[in-house]
Symmetry: C2
Subunit: 241 residues, 2 copies
Amino acid sequence: MSLPAPIYQLHSPCSSCNLAELCLPADLSAHELRKLDELSTVKRSFSRSDYLYRSGDKFRSLFAIHSGSFKTQILHEDGREQVTGFQMAGEIIGLDAISTDIHACDAVALESCVVCELPFNKLEELSREIPLLQRHLHKIMSREIVRDQGIMLLLGSMRAEERLAVFLLNLSQRLAARGLSATQFQLRMSRHEIGSYLGLKLETVSRAFSHFQSERLINVKVRTVEILDLAGLQACLNNTR
Amino acid sequence: MSLPAPIYQLHSPCSSCNLAELCLPADLSAHELRKLDELSTVKRSFSRSDYLYRSGDKFRSLFAIHSGSFKTQILHEDGREQVTGFQMAGEIIGLDAISTDIHACDAVALESCVVCELPFNKLEELSREIPLLQRHLHKIMSREIVRDQGIMLLLGSMRAEERLAVFLLNLSQRLAARGLSATQFQLRMSRHEIGSYLGLKLETVSRAFSHFQSERLINVKVRTVEILDLAGLQACLNNTR
DNA sequence: AAAGTGGTTTGATATATGTCAAAAATCGTG
DNA sequence: CACGATTTTTGACATATATCAAACCACTTT
């Protein structure tokens, strides 16, 4: 396994986690919450560019991101790479590995991160006993499918600037859901990584950023982004080609 | 709901279905198989261009395709469309709807089809009682995630001819898994639908077909395809740009 | 503070794919 | 079988994005 030794081990019950509303189903009974604490085991820390797992690793656990953010990527033998997502606190990562018991992509920390390991056997066992948890797990997997299909739409039928607008609006909305600013944030990923995610070359990403700035939709200075006109960005999407 | 009245209703136990090896987990006990037959209810027939479900429909059931094939598509309000997949016998369809209890895409029959309805409540109940079934359901969902991410790679970083090669090889392999010819088959979808799936215009798809033919990799006459050189098609993928 | 390194921006140019158009082939239907 | 409607093919041309290159900037290391 590619996990570094846990830098600090905190026994951290899910029931008292401040991210519970993102990770867990609502409406669990006290009894169910207590049961669920069987699950939460250890938190692990990662530094920028550490691997949480690698493609080919044996699958044992899903991971809940407690803080920080990751990218997931597929590396094709011929050198092609595709970033398949950027994940942040409260999101569950590793779902692709369930199908074959082998991780199908790499997960790489974009900054300092803390992650909760969720042993999958245990999760399945608990979800047999707690129907709400079962349903929740299904919803999380289904949500990932919907997300991926949204990206297929983006990659299959949107132009460069539309893709970047979708990307920025999505980031904005997820940050807001975490109580952070929807309009001012630091990008944790490079132009190259954004390009890989959006199916564009890094120069094209950079030009699109510059163009948005010249249109007064955003201010951007390298990785610092301020959205000036959310509605204007939205409007980019309606210009069908 | 958009389902037509079942044209014929056959009570058809999964345990005796010839597609069981595609739909069901291996190694179920006789007892478990018997339980599973609680699930299988009714088969429904569809004709070409019938909707199995539409985006926005209330979610109640997954569907197992018994015969025929479907496309799934997202229609964006601005008229953009994206075909997100082509599904054939033995495949399970509707997973995207679990996340919100509302179908997120349309499923349209590409030919005459027969479909088994799998009420999702029942499926969850059974999968709490049959751990192998639970695991199987998880694997099916995870497989869909992996599939979608493969398409992201295709859309994000492959050229037109590579995309078509991937498409043809994938079809070939799935047909072979169903005991059909890996090298001779009828396409059930139009150039436009293939293009939508691959993020290309129909003219580009048509040109790529013609080019493969001129290279003696395939014979293609409208919707009749014969693959002459499987290895040659594979080799298309290694020409990194 | 200087030097090095990697990331970013911008410009000039090339190219793959899109667009538009017309003809050919195929399919469905009376 | 013929008609119209639809799909497919092919060509000529347009364009969005990629490629190549250089300068610039920001961060790390010494």
